[in-house]
Symmetry: D2
Subunit: 275 residues, 4 copies
């Protein structure tokens, strides 16, 4: 952002009193203040070189020094407005968070985009293609000069219970489950796409999910899950192995929740490393 654009945002309305700019005497530095739940459509780059328009929910915040009464909420939206029209990739979060820090004259700034992201997926036997939706998030945090990026995905999968398979004479209870994963990595030297994390997680499932399944696919999916029984503990461990092996990943946090078909409550497992 050039200097002139910045000035326009900051000094625009001298005739109206700037209450936010008044002095505050309570002597309290605020860690994060800003806006939450702002809807914005953005066009983001995909691993396959195409792009996709998504509807993001955005949270943007800055630190606020003790001497100021308030931050300037409208400037967050004005800065974001400059980013709406371009192809957006997770790297642009760093520029955005840096612009916000500058325009709001803050020590630190944080931006989080959450959106539904579609990836085409072929059914296992008939190879019919239809997109599956995954919740994704990009979070950038700039504290002084220190930048940290966190990529998040939520992936629906199926789990089949090893205990139920063992003790029942036939069949086993199985269910839809959800895996949340957040990873941080150094964007200056590495690149990780949402597609990479989705694939990593789907490979840990009893079987993964599809939008279209013809009967031969359904047969395959049913039998695959039965041949691949997994507790939430198994999925967690298989995923942790992959995450530890991936040298790009500096830290991760993951959570598996299985919507047990035999209970109205869920099986749940959690692991965070490097945070």
């Amino acid at each position: 952002m050039n200097w002139q654009t910045q000035q326009t945002m900051i000094n625009s309305e001298p005739h109206l009193k700037d209450v936010q700019n008044q002095e505050d005497t309570r002597d309290i530095d605020i860690q994060k203040v800003g806006i939450n739940n702002l809807d914005v459509p953005i066009r983001i780059q995909r691993k396959n070189k195409t792009n996709q328009t998504v509807a993001a929910k955005v949270r943007m915040s800055v630190s606020l020094p003790r001497k100021y009464k308030g931050t300037h909420m409208s400037r967050f939206v004005e800065v974001l407005n400059l980013y709406r029209m371009k192809d957006f990739s997770s790297e642009d979060i760093q520029c955005l968070v840096s612009d916000i820090k500058k325009v709001l004259k803050a020590e630190s700034a944080n931006v989080k985009f959450s959106f539904q992201y579609f990836v085409e997926k072929k059914s296992p036997i008939t190879k019919l293609s239809f997109p599956l939706a995954y919740d994704c998030s990009f979070e950038g945090d700039l504290n002084g000069e220190k930048y940290r990026f966190v990529l998040g995905v939520k992936v629906p999968i199926a789990t089949l219970c090893p205990c139920s398979k063992e003790i029942a004479e036939f069949s086993a209870h199985n269910q839809r489950a959800s895996v949340k994963l957040k990873v941080s990595f150094n964007q200056e030297k590495d690149k990780i796409w949402p597609e990479d994390l989705i694939e990593m997680i789907e490979n840990c499932a009893s079987v993964s999910l599809y939008a279209i399944l013809k009967r031969s696919d359904e047969k395959y999916v049913t039998e695959t899950a039965y041949n691949n029984p997994k507790f939430v503990e198994d999925i967690l461990r298989d995923l942790v192995i992959k995450l530890r092996q991936d040298k790009r990943i500096e830290s991760f946090e993951t959570e598996i929740e299985a919507f047990e078909s035999i209970h109205n409550h869920n099986a749940w497992a959690y692991q965070a490393e490097g945070i």
Copy 2:
């Protein structure tokens, strides 16, 4: 409600202008106006003669004749306040809705309570008991002198897919599902408890759900579901048969949604009769 209580609510603050009572000239009768999403704890009677305190979300409304600008929102809460302390049963909805109609001087009134209701349930083999939570609703509608009561329940169950069982060499996909049911009946001559509808629905499932299952229970539940495969269509039809046979039920509306373990979308079926 006695006459004096009513007057207290209605004429309480003569020194402040009653804007709601002003004349409106747009010539439009409003069908329903009131309050929504009010939280209130109520103690309700149970089928087993005990009672249970639940946290209800309440919607209360009246019709508003064309000549008045607005209804008096605070009076709904004042009337409800008189019902908080007593043991409440679905029959009390009729008195409440009648009091609201009177105090608000309306042609018609409608009240809906939605709450989570617990019923003790024993695991099938080890007989360990733990409550299961069901969403319930009581809705009363008084139009002139005509009263209609609707009882609603939402019951979590399991379904096991007959197609998957047939085509796979072993096992079958199964999942948690949810059945919503609303029935209307004549409260002056009949009584239907939430417990009755819950039992009716659970008897239509591949197998019902439990909070505690030891291994022998889990074996039973897994095998029972496999021996009892059902599409959402099957559950709907089995339920419709029971609903048509029950002479107390004047009308019903039901909806089954199965959270398919092979998809990220749901199988769904719907039927309404007598409405």
Copy 3:
């Protein structure tokens, strides 16, 4: 859809038993059965001749005659798949629902798309533009040859309380509110865009909402709301007048909910006509 495409969907896997096609003896016609909560990205046409990619949640269902055990869930997704790549407008819902009825060999079919839709909106004084998101829905119902289309929008607005303004020495409580509106009209002779309904509703508010407001805008919005106090009853009546006057609209259903800043519950009003 051509005859060959249809046949491919229907007869594709003769070697695997078609359980759904088996005879059912319970003698119950099912009103609606299908899939719910399927995510799909679609590119829809806008009033300003551009288009917009949205992430829709889709429900699709058909009636099922008493003689069949089940419907074929995968065919819904296969039919929808043919519509994904084209520019989609609300008129295409009629073709889609007609194709579904044909492929599923049903008497009636119903399709509902729900999605977040963005419309650019300029702040009232500084004229800064940023999109605002509105929940929209397209619902098509084909019963035999009779087709009915319903367009839905949900619009966030502000309301300022006339009673509070009257009785307080200064100021008045105001709050965010939400207006839901569904209208049906004859698509063969008339066209109504989501943009039309949004504008109609925003014109009934105390003041409408914006994503960016600089101080001069905020001054305008604050004062406009105070000069334009409205109960939910007022918003409902002003909207009903517009809806009755619009000759294209055959029926409507509307609901206003104001998230009162003085309560933790909401003021609520409802009207349905012509349904």
Copy 4:
């Protein structure tokens, strides 16, 4: 819990293979595994010496050493079952988490109860009483011998914008807001009730919320908010001052979100200290 009760839970079904107890070779200690979203009614003690039945959502987990394949999910519910019938206070969380750690033979255990809690509240002028609902949580964490308790509340309040008041000729935008607060303290020497945190937060608002307000109350509430304008920053700072002054509180995390009546997004502020 006595030794015999424990043994019953652990050794109950020798004839069925204990898959969870099998050896795991992946060499990964799991941090947390258990159940989530279990519904249970509990009767909890209140500050005013009465008690209240609430419907809690419960998450319970333990650590799992690398050598075991899985934890025993049913035992969590069995242990909880022993606590259902008694008057429950936040101190009982420590016994519960300790029993869970013992029965599951774990290094660490964690329990979280989330529930809606009602507190009677009198309108400011007419003194009409009606309960207001607050989301509360009790979380206990036992790591080896180290115990930590976290009390959480979510309190709805009203905020009135100081900037809008300053720049508008009359009135100011105001709205419902929500304050989340979690505090940890040493339960062996101190006691903090949900009521204490609720009062602390309501005292920081522009004005607090009520279920019943007659016109004289509404006048008071409207004028009080206008005389007490506050940004989310102001509420955060006023609350942080109180939290720092309270010597019982070892750490806190708080978040204010105001549902701006002029935007469809929210103003947001966050602070965590001592964590």
